[in-house]
Symmetry: C2
Subunit: 328 residues, 2 copies
Amino acid sequence: MAEHNPSAIHFTALPVTSADVEAAAVRLAGIARCTPVVTSRTVNERTNAQVFLKCENFQRTGSFKFRGAYNALAQLSEEQASRGVLTYSSGNHAQAIALSGQLLGIHTTIIMPDDAPVVKQAATRGYGAEVILYNRQETTREALAQSLVDRRGLTLIPPYDHPHVIAGQGTSALELFQEVGSLNLLLVCCGGGGLLSGCALAAKTLSPNCRVIGVEPERADDATRSFHSKTLHTTNNPDTIADGARTPCLGNITFPLVLHYVDDMVTVSEEAIRTTMFFLWERLKIVVEPTGALAAAALLSGVVKEPGARIGVIISGGNVDIRQICKL
Amino acid sequence: MAEHNPSAIHFTALPVTSADVEAAAVRLAGIARCTPVVTSRTVNERTNAQVFLKCENFQRTGSFKFRGAYNALAQLSEEQASRGVLTYSSGNHAQAIALSGQLLGIHTTIIMPDDAPVVKQAATRGYGAEVILYNRQETTREALAQSLVDRRGLTLIPPYDHPHVIAGQGTSALELFQEVGSLNLLLVCCGGGGLLSGCALAAKTLSPNCRVIGVEPERADDATRSFHSKTLHTTNNPDTIADGARTPCLGNITFPLVLHYVDDMVTVSEEAIRTTMFFLWERLKIVVEPTGALAAAALLSGVVKEPGARIGVIISGGNVDIRQICKL
């Protein structure tokens, strides 16, 4: 039948489905935290809308990344699991893979640049991961990863461009809709597009009329340009405080998903990110990292306006150190 | 019957009862926020106990003070309400009174020293209160308050030494016990003793075997000395970052309640307060002010140890500005 309906062909050909998100939710039940949905009179008054903040900063390891990492590691074959897992990340994905490995009894190896903050190296080792440092001048993380995959037979779990990672991230939106019901609009930050595509997929299934908007920093607007031009654009080490959005481009898997499920992409200024982060801290008393504030910044800075709407906002993470905050 | 039972006489003679706390909870239902109880694997592992953090930093106006203020204002006679309310505070009680007045349609006047942070003056005015500034060198807040009471017929609602305020604060512990059941230990910070005595009263009613320990800064240990000596001690403008605990002494009402219902008092160092505040921020992603971290500091610094116990901790507030944090 499908060949008579190009749209359906495209739909079923996509490598992640709403059933995958639902299966991920079952896998994560009792292991990932069902994070709280925070509401605020102040936010509602400022936006003239009813806003629901899904707080992944309270997720285990401090960000949504745990959902995707655990969902991926939990689906490895026994043989893959016994050989171990590899990833490259100096950020939230590293800790998420490390904790997932610890919980599942899978050895994890994390490749980090040798200038990664010592505190992040320590946190990752604290979850039992093996950390391998490399010099950015001497090699690339991809080359080092490939040699480890070849030599040790490790399975590479990349930070976003993996169906199981994407399905796991989608459980954040799934929980939000299960808790608050249908929405008019869902705002999600975008780095490599794992969270955005997973959440958009969940939204279109659970609240079909909900528009989904991805949010990037102005200074790292590759996905926004890619979305509008339908051609993959890249950015090179952009200068934004939202470190989770410094990824060079959408992935082979996330790009088609974003094109298919996301309704629009917008960007926010560095000042809006900063102001929103401090607003969330001072008024809502929650610690949010710059990337975690992106989606809320689109709303609070007025880039997105939808008076009277029921609006979901994913607060993606809260891993920020005090020294960094004080510099801002 | 009572005269044959001195203990019962003492009990009934106290000006706040568990029925008052229950009545306050009814008054506050749907108006105060039923604040979340946060748990953390990291905290449980570090303390070898099961710890429940009752997060009053998420309360309206950012601290538990809203409970007592609203409970007091809601019980004014029509005549008192029409004349208005007065208090002196540059801190959380000021905003709590201001918002309570706004919600109940009662004019509120707040006396603050003229060197109170502009941001606090603005926040208090933002809730519709009239702020009257005074010069510490020229007059005392008590003298100015008395003249306003005399001239304008205002009703003074002090920050802690008032039965309705104390009963309101006790609803924090009431909610905690209703949510998590009985506990072995409850830790509560102590400034003027309003929160501590209200919570201790609730604890002894709802979880009779629960020990209650009050926590003060080492540098502002008047209540601890008063408790142990059974004589009221005072402290004069102590140099502690826990500004909510800089009150000179327990009150005429709170002191007997503390003596009757509290099992022990302990103190924590400035370093323990600071470390705990940053720990709660970085690991639990919640913004807590120094005073708000006192009770948790007693546990996390090892001043109080109770392995295997179920322990409640009141996180009293989260009103701290970024600049202050950065200085620490």
